[in-house]
């Protein structure tokens, strides 16, 4: 497949089941909402080293938040519910409780509700105040008001935990590092407009894609040498000689369709720069279809199949 002069590999991204949640952070103004949200989603690029993958989903106007203040929504993903709960509590305590004027609310409902401020309330040392109030749909929600030095920290008691998918991805291959980065930036700008997804790496882009295993027994992952331009003549490379740089965009989302849609708009945005921008190929990272249950086939997605009917093939599908 050729899109605007850019070759789209006949391959797929391989993704995994995760647990996810959404939190709404509000503050006196957007500046302080971002301070809180950036702290909470900091050091959350990969579950491998950070426990969770998290990012800012979008800005919220005052009309969209529970306390009528501006804010942002955050999505947070982990490989299991226990880790997600632990990380959420830690980050709430260190990043939101501490941030002036910030408040936290549930951004998603589910049968599985996990602690948001439920345990954090004890910081109030007995002076915390609980309020059980109905939302717009008449469902009662419990809030905690915790006395802090700037006034009062307000947090909802719980938030929903849902089944989610992590690890959707695509690779941008091009003639130079600067050109590949420019294409990735264009992709990220377009993908940020898609709800229910985050791109957890710095600026949404990752340069250090990995493969399973290593020559060093203690490491379970190492550099994706087949896509490293400096090793083209050393290993069994996936790169032609005119490829000087490869970058990856990783996507976590609430559903298969959300990730597929974000991949589609991202690839289209990267390719919209055209062949003359130095972008040569779009590919994707996978493990041969043997590890992750969700396969995002690039050709299917770009042909408009966002439901994975043809893309979500059983493990072992041909790359």
């Amino acid at each position: 497949m050729i899109l605007n002069g850019v070759t789209i590999d006949d391959t797929f991204a391989e993704a995994f089941n995760m647990r996810g949640t959404r939190i709404i952070i509000t503050a006196q103004n957007l500046k302080w909402a971002y301070h809180a949200a950036n702290a909470m989603t900091g050091f959350a690029t990969s579950v491998i080293g950070c426990g969770v993958e998290a990012g800012i989903e979008r800005e919220l106007t005052a009309n969209e938040t529970p306390d009528d203040r501006p804010g942002v929504s955050i999505l947070m993903f982990a490989m299991g519910s226990k880790v997600l709960m632990q990380q959420l509590e830690n980050r709430m305590g260190q990043c939101i409780l501490t941030c002036p004027t910030a408040a936290a609310f549930s951004g998603i409902t589910s049968e599985d509700m996990i602690s948001l401020g439920k345990h954090l309330r004890y910081f109030g040392d007995g002076n915390q105040v609980s309020k059980l109030l109905p939302d717009a749909n008449g469902h009662n929600k419990r809030y905690w008001r915790i006395p802090v030095m700037d006034g009062e920290f307000l947090t909802e008691e719980t938030t929903g935990m849902v089944r989610a998918i992590g690890g959707g991805n695509f690779l941008v291959l091009g003639q130079s590092q600067a050109q590949v980065l420019a294409a990735c930036e264009a992709a990220i700008e377009a993908m940020k407009k898609i709800p229910n997804v985050i791109m957890p790496f710095p600026g949404g882009v990752v340069r250090s894609g990995s493969k399973v295993g290593s020559k060093y027994p203690k490491l379970f992952a190492s550099t994706n040498d087949a896509f490293c331009p400096t090793l083209k003549g050393v290993v069994k490379s996936e790169l032609d000689m005119d490829i000087e740089s490869v970058m990856e965009i990783v996507i976590d989302g609430l559903t298969f369709q959300d990730i597929a849609l974000s991949m589609k708009v991202g690839i289209e945005a990267a390719c919209s720069l055209g062949k003359n921008s130095g972008i040569k190929r779009i590919s994707a990272g996978n493990y041969g279809g043997k590890l992750g249950p969700h396969l995002f086939k690039l050709h299917s997605i770009l042909n408009g199949d966002l439901d994975g009917i043809t893309g979500n093939e059983p493990a072992g599908a041909k790359a």
């Binding site: 306390d67 309020k131 109030l133 109905p134 939302d135 809030y143 006034g151 009062e152």
Partner: protein, 222 residues
């Protein structure tokens, strides 16, 4: 379905006990069953009220007066609207739901209330919110003596400057963003409370003669 409405037939001059006229107690009862409920010695519902409507989850009392006591007593859910004045112990030991009084109420409003929302648009008598354990009581009018006596937890939202006892501690004036969420819970209700929007309050904490975890929030001009 329209609200189950109790309209006073005649001017009542003796105490009427409305303890059993709550959405929870009347659920799945027929009109005949409800008419037979005793309100006082030799007084049944049929003697005092004319009943219209059928939705037992929303009760309305029309043309009522200060002789009707214990309206909303121990109610756990639903909505009760009082069009007129209420007697003593309105919302006493409430466990949930919404109770709106559009007139004045007697003494001990919200006594030992545990949960729910009690909104009184008029004045109240003595011992308002006495021994209250939790929940929210809003008051647009004036209050009598001993406001919040023995109040343990919960919120008393008042518009007029309160005259609490010495066992209530003034914590000063500040902004509480949480009030925006509280006001949103008023928005769908047929009450003057739905127009509130101030988040600046003077906060009192008490009653420190007991547990002392309750608060009186006196609304200030933003």
């Amino acid at each position: 379905m329209s609200a189950l409405t109790f309209t006073l037939k005649k001017t009542v001059q003796t105490a009427v006990n409305c303890k059993n006229l709550t959405p929870d107690f009347l659920q799945s009862k027929t009109i005949a069953d409800i008419n037979a409920i005793k309100l006082a010695t030799n007084l049944t519902v049929a003697d005092v009220f004319e009943i219209t409507g059928e939705n037992t989850n929303i009760l309305q009392f029309n043309q009522v007066n200060q002789h009707l006591h214990y309206i909303g007593y121990k109610m756990r859910s639903g909505t009760v609207i009082v069009q007129g004045d209420a007697g003593d112990f309105i919302g006493a030991e409430m466990q949930g739901g919404v109770l709106i009084c559009k007139g004045n109420a007697g003494s001990r409003a919200g006594d030992a209330m545990r949960r729910g929302l009690l909104l009184i648009e008029g004045n109240v008598g003595d011992y308002c919110a006495s021994n209250m354990k939790a929940g929210t009581l809003g008051l647009l009018g004036a209050s009598g003596a001993h406001l919040g006596y023995g109040m343990k937890r919960g919120t008393l939202l008042v518009v007029n400057t309160p005259k609490p006892q010495a066992t209530w501690l003034n914590c000063g004036t500040l902004n509480l963003p949480f009030l925006k969420i509280l006001y949103k819970s008023f928005a769908s209700l047929d009450t003057q409370f739905a127009t509130l929007n101030q988040t600046r309050v003077n906060r009192w904490v008490g009653d420190v003669s007991g547990l002392g975890k309750a608060e009186i929030l006196e609304l200030q001009t933003d």
